[in-house]
Amino acid sequence: MSKKLVMLSIIAFVLFGCTNNDPTYEDAQNADFELLKIKSDVPVDQQPANQAKEFLSHYEEVKQVRAVNTEDDLVIAVDINHHDRFQLDHLQKELTKDVKKNFSGMTITFSTDRKILIELKRLEEDLQKQNMNVDEINERLEKIKKLSKEDT
């Protein structure tokens, strides 16, 4: 009897972990949120990327955002809070939807992958430090987009 109870509670726990909570948008930005806005003196205006960061920083589940854009491409990577990662698939779907609604004019690539996050961070830093021309930025971003689409 007690075995059954234990089994039931385990199942309940697992199922509870699977419930789909929608991401919560708060008015205030998350506390201690690392938000790097890219200066405007880069060859491609990073206004959309900065806006996307600002927008995503309001989500409770989001820990970190990196984003870079070209003329019509916007690549975003987010880091999700550890305990929210149980709903990673669902969050990714919902957040992508929200972002696409707000930036309807651009092609959005949205990712929660750590690799994309790292690469975008590197690109952001390079944008700040060096004088990159438009072609270089396009090339780097193209590579990141390709990576994000890779499947096993």
């Binding site: 992958d113 750590r114 690799k115 994309i116 790292i118 990576l147 994000s148 890779e150 499947d151 096993t152």
Partner: protein
């Protein structure tokens, strides 16, 4: 249960006497050891994954394959040098459940049957222990896929 009833009384009596003398597997101790060793192996796997993500062009999705390959190669050396079986005796399920246990089952069989040649020995016996895992793994995946198709497409849940 029905098997037990068929036993003659003498056998039943002896089995009772024997049960008193039998040394039981130390289940709790084994579980703790398995947890620690298995956890160490998984941490090592995570470290390898992170390494591939940071230093090579692998994403979280694609880094799995090279990680598994690396763990298998490590297991291959451990098995070949005779270090994996004492580890397995200590850790039990901790070394059997991760991919390293599967690799060890294949590699140890391959080494063992080398004496019968490459075709009759290695070739036909390599999957002697791992074969059931593949057969029933594929079969279970097939069943689950059917259930999922029925639930999502037909019942529309």
């Amino acid at each position: 249960m029905s098997e037990e009833r068929k036993l003659p009384p003498e056998a039943k009596q002896y089995q009772k006497l024997h049960a008193k003398r039998e040394i039981k597997r130390p289940v709790v101790k084994n579980c703790i050891k398995a947890f620690l060793v298995g956890g160490t192996i998984c941490t090592l796997g995570q470290a390898i994954t992170t390494f591939y993500i940071y230093f090579f062009d692998f994403t979280e999705k694609t880094a799995g394959n090279p990680t598994v390959a690396t763990l298998i190669i490590i297991t291959m050396f451990l098995t070949g040098f005779g270090l994996y079986d004492p580890l397995g005796q200590f850790a039990g399920a901790g070394t059997a459940i991760p991919v390293t246990g599967f690799a060890n089952a294949v590699i140890s069989s391959a080494i063992e049957h080398r004496t019968e040649g490459f075709i009759q020995g290695v070739g036909s016996n390599m999957l002697k222990l791992a074969g059931p895992v593949i057969v029933y793994g594929v079969f279970t995946a097939f069943l689950i896929a059917i259930v999922k198709t029925v639930v999502t497409n037909i019942l529309g849940l």
